[in-house]
């Protein structure tokens, strides 16, 4: 017999959630699947006295593509649903693969895509950054749309409603995502790296590299991106500079199990190995 000592409000529409939220004077904890918060409570973080539960909200639980080839993933879509959704499997198989590496099936059945982003260290974030994903969110003023990277800069509280990914037109692109955990499955991330290299004509026209892992908040590695985009031809000299840029730009948080130095090495090895693979597949496209 467990006695819950927390007041939980469960709105069924997003407007109701918004109204409730505005009525609170003090900050409130939002909860959807609760899987991330559970890990915090298990570590001894106090369970808040009040929570606003968003899991019963009926909206923002679907995945669809609009007329502009933009994929909209509702914030409250469960990770497992997102992974298995035919549209995701067809257009963004890398997202399915990334989700498959998150925790275990039971957790993926509860945890939401919105929650994975909102916790700021979720495993989907590097890939979403590499995809230039946008976020539709709700603040006390109303609905807003913003780049995911910029959303992390916002200090005010907000509710994520959708993550929006614009699919490429006819470009050739190489998209990769790698999570290194402490074991093969059901592990927190030590290093997560994702990237997208887009070729148009004979030009490497867009490069996105993002890294996270553990308590490290994922972010784009803009200096690395710039070197690759500027130099175009990826030879060993460029790789050396990429390596150096990564060493200064990626600042992984260490813990008692893995040093930041180790994480840096892994991230650079991952990046180099992916660039080698890319060169193998697309290198012939331009000279």
């Amino acid at each position: 017999m467990r006695i819950l000592e927390t007041t939980v409000s469960s709105p069924t529409t997003i407007d109701e959630a918004w109204t409730m939220w505005k009525s609170y004077e003090e900050p409130i904890t939002f909860i959807a699947g609760g899987t991330f918060l559970q890990t915090k409570w298990e570590k001894g973080v106090a369970v808040p006295s009040k929570m606003l539960h968003l899991g019963d909200v009926l909206e923002y639980k679907q995945i669809y593509m609009d007329t502009e080839r933009q994929i909209h993933i509702g914030s409250f879509v469960k990770l497992a649903e997102c992974k298995n959704h035919p549209l995701i499997a067809k257009t963004l198989p890398q997202l399915s693969q990334t989700i498959e590496k998150i925790a275990a099936p039971a957790v993926r059945n509860l945890g939401t895509i919105g929650g994975n982003i909102a916790n700021c260290v979720g495993d989907t974030i590097p890939l979403l950054l590499a995809l230039d994903a946008e976020i539709l969110y709700l603040n006390k003023e109303g609905r807003q749309r913003i780049d995911l990277q910029d959303w992390f800069e916002i200090t005010e509280c907000s509710i994520i409603l959708e993550v929006i990914i614009t699919l490429d037109d006819e470009e050739k692109s190489y998209l990769f995502t790698k999570k290194i955990g402490r074991r093969e499955a059901f592990s927190a991330s030590v290093v997560t790296l994702a990237g997208k290299l887009t070729v148009k004509g004979n030009q490497l026209c867009k490069v996105r590299i993002a890294a996270g892992g553990g308590e490290t908040q994922p972010s784009r590695l803009r200096n690395v991106e710039n070197i690759l985009q500027h130099d175009q031809i990826i030879d060993s000299n460029v790789l050396k500079r990429v390596y150096q840029a990564l060493m200064t730009e990626y600042q992984p948080v260490e813990d008692v199990f893995y040093s930041s130095n180790y994480r840096l090495k892994v991230a650079s090895n991952l990046l180099i190995s992916e660039l080698e693979k890319w060169r193998g597949e697309y290198g012939g496209l331009y000279k």
């Binding site: 467990r2 006695i3 499955a185 059901f186 592990s187 199990f257 130095n261 180790y262 090495k265 090895n269």
Partner: protein, 746 residues
Amino acid sequence: MADYTSNLASSRPRPDGMGKVTGALNYFTDLQFPNMLYGKVLRSEHPHAKIQQLNIEKAEQLPGVLAVITSKDVPGLNGFGLITQDQPVFCDQVVRYVGDAVAAVAAITPEIAERAIKRIEVTYEPLPIMDDPESAMNPDSTPLHSGGNILHEASYENGDVDEGFPLCDVIIEETYLLPRQMHAYMETEGGVFVPERDGRLSVYAGTQHGYKDRLQLARILNLSEERIRVISSPMGGSFGGKDELNIQPYGAILALKTGRPVKIHQSRRESMISGIKKHPMKITMKTGAKKTGEIVAHEVRIIADTGAYATLGPAVLDFAVEHAIGPYVIPNVKTKGYAVFTNNGVAGEFRGFGGNQITFALEGQIDRLADDLHMSPLKLRKKNLRQGTDPGPVGQMIAPTNGDSLVLDEITQSPLLALDKRDSDNPWKKTGVGVALTMHGGGLGFGRMDPSGGKISLNHEGKIEIAFGFEEVGQGLLAVIENITTEAIGCSSEDLHIVIGDTDKVPHSGSSTASRGTSMIWHSLQRLKGPFKEKLLDTAAKRSGYQKEQLCVGEKGIWLNGQRILTFEQLFLENEPISIDTKFDFPTTPNSIPGGHFLYSFAAVAVKVEVDLITGAIKVTDIDQAVSAGPVVNPNGYIGQIEGGTIMALGYTLLEEAAMQQSRYTTENFDTYILPTIQDIPPKMNVRAIEDLWEGDMYGPRGVGEIGTVALAPAIVRAIYDATGHWVTKLPVSREEILHAREMVF
């Protein structure tokens, strides 16, 4: 390429299999009783401290709290321990590790118990922490116990190493560091304690030895043993971790004090902090050989971090000292070991019992020697192997065996060892193979009381009741009893009623430990079957009028010439009970060597690993094994023990460490203490059982509970060397170390 597949056929499902895999089975920690209270133990905040003040008033005042107990409430001996009772039930002056108990409460809900615990006020004066056994050994160090910090010393000497080393062409000296592994049983320590109307106490709590728990509880509770009933099987895993008492004293005292049933079930975090672990060891070995490969001298120093209390620390050290030369003949040996008290938790019994640590070091030495001698590791092993009638590793007389030679020959057939390792076209992956050999003693060993026994009878339902004091800890005991009994008696499994795990009903069989269960059940039946069948047939002859010699015991009754003439039910008569029991001791060496063994099992392991040069991670892709442990009793159980033990060893080698800083765990739960999952294990493992025993061997099947855990680690480390040229000396293998060793240069 040689064929190497498992030679064990699949057997019928174990009797308790379905309930366990479907989750239908109720464990003791699932039990509910009317008016049941929930107990919780307050454990120390400090690894080493004086208790200045302890105030339980605020906890007692909390509504819903029925009892708050401290050392003052222990009716008898305030101490427990399988051999030495040096661990306080409740500390009253000093705490020596973070799991030491200070007080306990019983309340009407777990939440109230939890809140009450937080209201107990303890003032501590922190004392200097002994977190390093070598510093703790220093005579100037603060003693954690009155006898000083060296709990136990053990040694073995033969020949003269000082004369041996100068004769050697190659000498390897290396120090090996072994981690603190957690048993990680699925069911954490727990149970329900029920005061009965007749004044007795029923204890429903998993253990490896119900009678020993009863004895220990009787001392603590100041009750006669007969007033305590321990119901102890089944349970959700133990691996050596629940042979010692854990929560039983607290549940028992709370139940007696409140007069109500009390349940205690530790959270994983509580289990992690308070539970015993495998001994971390630092082992230094110096081993020398001649150019020809003949090993001449071997010097060993073992420092075992035994933590705050004795439990089985001395016996584990003795075992490590005994197995320091393994199955090899080395004329000059000097082994010295120390088990040292520290504030680092409590180390004690763990599947492998010191064998894992010492074998890792020993096989590491053999591999390094082979490398320096440019000799194949298999050949070097073969060259130095003992012969069938040679004495055991500490010069003691043992049951003649060539199991070591048999498993070595068998593993030579593994195609893994013939692998061309240039087969990988991925520049970020390197593959390698390795092999290792081990021997492992069964039973408690010389000088340790090791009685066993069993009882067989015909009950009123016409069932053949077979009773043992062994426990079902997940190892597959019931299937072993079923197979051995049906084969010995000739009846079917439906005719059997197996009784275990209840001190009111079972005979003394000793602990379910030291790979002794299967062996002792077989020995019991060898003794029971003749007299029991004799009695059945006597009764049947009397009842039927047929000549006894014409009758035989078969399925569901007594048979004459292919026809059943009496059912077992018809044989039962209230006033003529048919019942036989037996008592005997585990066979031991006649030589006076503390813990010296007489019966050994053997294993050889071949592995293939893939080293990921991006992350430094090691993936074991294939495991082949050969095991020599006498006849196979239950093929599924045998495979389960060997494969399960191997995966436990895989975790030990690559992932698991109950890490501590300043004598506090940095891994407090399964999110940081990393166990292998199904994705970390090779998709296929092959186990080949060698059932042959030395001619005239009368000791039957040996247990296989531990042998599968021993040889994997050194085989993996050798395979890593094969792949990378880097020798690992510390477990679990550090990915960071691998990357460092193979630093990529652009």
